[in-house]
């Protein structure tokens, strides 16, 4: 009850996937009555191929493949303005998160740069327990083929004592590696 719309995805597998996404995000897409407040306030809406409202609409209509293939889910900056303002309490930002993770799992990445950045960031954390900023800059540039991108950032950072060339390592690196392994392959799930 209380749902503005009663729409269900066409196929059984789509239905199961949508349910999984909603559980991950802790929200329900059918609560949305398409007012568009999320999109009006979205600070990156100008760069999206589908506005947040349209992404939710795709999910409502069971067009999961289309939703997962939007560029929007990678442009979303996770600022959570949409979730804060939704009059129906739909956690749109959390859904965007869930969609990104699902797209990553399916290898359906429309914005390679964001994914590369995330991978570089996490590999530093996995190896050292902390962010390795210098390594992150270099690795990101190597992977995206932009060797000198952000050079105006890296050099002055080093000069101003803001970037250590060597990574900071914590003692519990083994524990961190284990956390990564267990989280990536959770026993029961």
């Amino acid at each position: 009850m209380g749902n503005a719309l009663q729409l269900l995805p066409a196929t059984q597998s789509d239905r199961a996937l949508l349910k999984h996404l909603e559980e991950e995000a802790g929200t329900e897409v059918n609560l949305c009555y398409q007012c568009g407040k999320c999109s009006a306030g979205c600070p990156v809406g100008f760069a999206m191929d589908q506005t947040p409202r349209q992404v939710i609409r795709l999910l409502q209509l069971g067009l999961l493949e289309e939703a997962l293939s939007t560029e929007s889910i990678w442009i979303c900056a996770s600022c959570e303005t949409c979730s804060a303002r939704c009059p129906r309490g739909v956690d749109i930002a959390s859904l965007m998160d869930a969609l990104r993770r699902e797209a990553l799992k399916q290898g359906r990445i429309t914005d390679r740069k964001v994914a590369v950045f995330n991978r570089a960031f996490l590999s530093g954390v996995k190896n050292f327990g902390r962010t390795y900023e210098a390594g992150l800059l270099l690795q990101h540039n190597l992977f995206t083929g932009q060797l000198f991108k952000d050079a105006e950032l890296g050099l002055p950072m080093m000069q101003k004592g803001k970037l250590s060339f060597f990574p900071e390592k914590i003692k519990g690196r083994e524990a961190i590696k284990k956390i990564f392994e267990r989280a990536e392959n959770p026993g029961g799930e």
Partner: protein, 478 residues
Amino acid sequence: MKLAYYPGCSLDGSAIEYGLSTKRTAELLGVELLEIEDWNCCGATSGHNTNKLLSLALPARNLALAEKTGLDVLAPCAACYNRFRNTEHVVRHDRKMQEKITAVIEMDYAASNQTLSILELIVNKVGLEKLREKVSQPLKAMKAACYYGCLLVRPQEHTGFDDNEDPRSMDLIMQALGAESVEWSFKTECCGAALATSRPDVGYRMIYEVIRNAREAGAECLVTACPLCMMNLDMRRRGVEKAFNQRLDIPVYYITELLAIACGDSPRDVGVHRHFVEAESYLASLPEKAARIEAEEAARLEAEQAKKAARAAQAKKAAQDKAKKKEASEAEAMAKAGDEKKAAPAAEAAAKAETKEKAAPAVEAAATLAEVGDKGSKAAPTQAQAAAPAAAEAVDDGALQKKITAMIKAWEKSPEKVAARLIEDEERAAILAQVVSGDEKKTARLAELMITDKDKAAKAAEAFVTGELKKRQKAQES
């Protein structure tokens, strides 16, 4: 107060000045910070973009380590703070997830403690009152746009210490430090976070809009409590300026830097010289600007007071004129009513009232000037000379004229009674009344003299009577 301290990766690297100034802030406010031993990265946005369980487990390891000490956690970095609050929320509300998390980190964790942001610590735990006591070099004349960004205030269910659309905590801190915080609409607008790296076409525009809005609101600097916002607003400035072909001269500060400086630290002590956008000269310019504003304000107040005094003097003069008019009209009314006995004294009283206010003495003095020979010893010539223009001014006065008119009317109504006031001898007084009545010139002359100079009036009256008697004698002879 004792807190577990989680600096996070940025405060040891790109936000080293935030780390330095946070430690100074804690010292100044009497908060003891115990760094969480062997803490790890919180995973930040990349964590929750990639793997939900991982994004909860990485913060949970730090929080579990802190929980063992029984202390609440201070996480100055807005991103770490946000991930920590999110993890606390999940652990408190989702039993199943809590079990999963504790299994992954192989530690107990029940979220019995809580994470504080630097703003919450200052406003809610230390208190603005105590902060005000510590301020020794108030940031007078500073006009700051307090930039909260996303991670400190959203989602409200997780953060909750301030409003997510119009937060006030940083503004209150800045005001306590003596600065002015401007009202602006991009307080919680997103700076674009990592989009500046992955999608500069999108990210730079977001950064640009935040800075532009702050400048349009009249801000002369931006204040933040987030290392990621600082990276975008400060370290990416040159790129943004290039992309929009526009200079955006506006420094950015961490709230903790400004707090330490207002409490007596030098800007270099807290690392302001490490900013990419030059930020020392604005701070250095503040005392002079404050002095200039103070001088302008003092001048403005003085001008206002002078204006007020002038207005008061004008009002006083108007009230005096009004009182004089009232007296004159009373005399007139009495004359009209035919009460001669009262009318003349009333007119005289009016004249006396005038006398009190230097105008009448001036008339007297002017009159004496004409007879310096007789009364010269009384009034020094210089005094008389000074009084002459004042007398002329007083004669011009409408109020005086009214009294004279009233006196003329009194003459016209009952000449005998008025004549008796000038000449004691009844016979001569009767003759004066006869001479004056019907002679407008003489009536006016006597009335005027009675108001301005009674002695002269009496002399003139005697002269009129003597003249009339001589006339009558001549008529009899011929």
